[in-house]
């Protein structure tokens, strides 16, 4: 019996000949990440435990992105802890406001993640980097503190579930719809503790932005990680990373054996997946966007670590260009990085958003978790390209979030209710 890509990566990082699901390895960490919410606890624990230095000043990333630019005094105090720790330990991967972006957008963009890597992050959406044929997973602050000192993380090798997406997705269907549809199919704990391996024709033809979106939401199915095999699309993305970056080296490419053992194989006809929306209050509560036109909305959020890449903004603008945001609706754009902003300026995307009536933010997690930049009032509803629609996620406990792709979010912003692009005249 062969091995899955995740088993091979963890065997290598755990310095074992081979591993099987259920084995516990103490894996070498290629990159350990935390943010302005999770790092303060870790820093306190690291110092209280008496650790004096980090295992490798080049392999610890601190990204203040959640409540930054600092939304209040308490948030400012937390960011200050990160900044001072980064200076004290001469961390090479501390990213300051004005140069930073949303962690899961910039780590790949800066070339800090390569195939075959083991990345842990004190943020649940760290699973994003599986799109680069790496093992990456979310952990807590204590794991991050331990990894800073030890350079390792304990991991139980997960079973892998293979998802095979056949066919060609429809015109306004992307990675977001495939992953929402999948979560709807298997439930929010349908892949609990497991690795979700995404494959098939629809993945092979998908760009990196779509693959990042799919791996990003593996955690919403309970998954330990998402992963996509290395191919020409991966290679092309890596080749465009900054010269001299870790990823530009290519990494240690491994792939699943043809006879790898899977806990389950799930086949999905991507051509039959409609633009999909997750209704409140679970990502698994899915419905076709076209069925929800009677849901009126107050706000639309486009961006985040899930859909904040340039390709996502382009999808939204393809629907929005030349049209106006509905007078009753606020459209907030949360771009993923400064580079996304610069590119969006250079090609006119940012101007088109602003002309349509959008508030275009600096990169931040912001309203995705009800922090700032678009918190919802009692009774308000939002369509968002973010990743969670739990009770109170974007603000008041009696507000609602509908998760969608950027095309649907833009169409909804125009219509003032959940809408497909066709409903607002796109593609005619």
């Amino acid at each position: 019996m062969g091995h899955s890509i995740i088993e091979k990566i963890l065997a290598r990082a755990g310095e074992r000949e081979s591993v099987r699901p259920g084995d516990i390895v103490e894996a070498r960490v290629d990159l350990a990440l935390a943010n302005d919410i999770t790092a303060p606890i870790a820093i306190r624990e690291f110092e209280e435990a008496g650790f004096e230095k980090v295992f490798d000043a080049g392999k610890v990333a601190l990204v203040p992105d959640h409540f930054t630019p600092n939304k209040d005094i308490k948030a400012a105090q937390q960011s200050k802890l990160l900044r001072e720790f980064a200076v004290r330990h001469q961390l090479e991967k501390y990213v300051e406001v004005g140069r930073m972006g949303i962690e899961h957008v910039i780590l790949p963009e800066f070339g800090w993640v390569a195939p075959g890597d083991v990345v842990i992050g004190a943020d649940s959406h760290t699973c994003t980097y599986g799109a680069l044929a790496a093992f990456s997973t979310g952990v807590g602050s204590t794991d991050f503190a331990a990894a800073m000192a030890w350079g390792r993380v304990w991991l139980q090798v997960p079973e892998s579930v293979r998802f095979v997406y056949s066919g060609t997705p429809g015109r306004y269907v992307g990675g977001k719809d495939l992953i929402l549809h999948t979560i709807g199919l298997i439930g929010v704990d349908g892949a609990l503790y497991k690795a979700m391996e995404f494959s098939g024709e629809a993945i092979e033809t998908m760009d990196m932005a779509g693959r990042f979106t799919m791996c990003n939401m593996a955690v919403e199915a309970g998954g330990k990680c998402g992963v996509v095999g290395y191919d020409q699309t991966t290679a092309g993305y890596l080749a465009a990373r900054p010269a001299g970056s870790h990823a530009a080296g290519g990494g240690a490419v491994v792939e699943s054996d043809a006879d790898a053992e899977y806990a389950q194989v799930v086949e999905i006809d991507a051509g039959a997946v409609p633009p999909t929306v997750s209704k409140p209050h679970l990502p698994s509560n899915t419905a076709p966007a076209s069925d929800l036109a009677d849901v009126t909305i107050d706000q639309v959020v486009i961006g985040s670590c899930t859909n904040g890449r340039l390709e996502d903004l382009h999808q939204a603008i393809a629907v929005l260009r030349g049209k106006k945001v509905h007078p009753r609706v606020r459209l907030v754009v949360l771009p993923g990085s400064q580079q996304v902003c610069l590119d969006a300026i250079a090609d006119g995307t940012m101007q088109a958003f602003i002309e349509a009536g959008a508030a275009f933010s600096t990169p931040t997690c912001g309203s995705c978790l009800g922090g700032h930049m678009g918190v919802l009032a009692e009774g308000e509803r939002a369509v968002a390209t973010t990743n969670r629609n739990f009770v109170g996620r974007m603000g008041h406990t009696k507000s609602e979030v509908y998760l969608a792709n950027p095309y649907v979010a833009a169409a909804s912003a125009i219509a003032g209710h959940v809408a497909t692009p066709e409903m607002v005249g796109a593609g005619e």
Partner: protein
């Protein structure tokens, strides 16, 4: 030390970390302050009802969502001694073991328990006794590695001993 007895606070499935400790309170990591807002968005009366030593019992996938360690910290700071669930979301599970919040996986005990019941949990032996109902259920055993982490009081003491054995860092 790994035995707890208390009153049950019962919840359903998919209790997420956003309702255990809402993000609007994550601009602090002070345990006492986090404890004051524990379960606020799913059960606003929880913090006034909870007594030291009480036990949270929930159905599947407890602690799903964000990786915030503020969730187990808030639960512990609110006075809860132990969480029993049919299953835990994986990051919450890690965080509990790493930080020393006692948890027990026991679908039968979770299904049977009602709010207000008195239960006694022996984490080491993996037994959940429902005193009110006069029943007893065997919990899933932790793998030996996790047992060791639990016995050492969490991940950082374990790492310290590992690094010590390797000659320090």
């Amino acid at each position: 030390m790994m035995q707890f007895e208390g009153t049950v606070h019962k919840y359903g499935r998919d209790v997420d970390t956003d309702v255990i400790i809402p993000a609007r309170y994550l601009n602090t990591s002070d345990p006492a302050e986090l404890g004051r807002h524990c379960m606020e968005d799913i059960d606003p009366g929880f913090v006034t009802r909870v007594q030291p030593g009480d036990i949270i019992v929930a159905d599947e996938n407890f602690g799903c969502g964000s990786s915030r360690e503020h969730a187990p910290v808030a639960i512990g700071a609110a006075g809860v001694s132990c969480v029993v669930a049919a299953s835990f979301a994986r990051i919450f599970y890690r965080n509990a073991i790493n930080t020393g919040l006692p948890i027990v996986v026991c679908p039968e005990a979770a299904a049977a328990a009602r709010a207000g019941d008195t239960v006694r949990v022996d984490v080491a032996d993996g037994v959940v006794q429902n005193i009110s109902q006069g029943t007893s259920h065997k919990a899933d055993a932790f793998p030996p590695f996790m047992q060791e982490l639990i016995e050492r009081g969490g991940l950082l003491p374990y790492v310290k001993s590992r690094l010590g054995a390797a000659g320090g860092s």
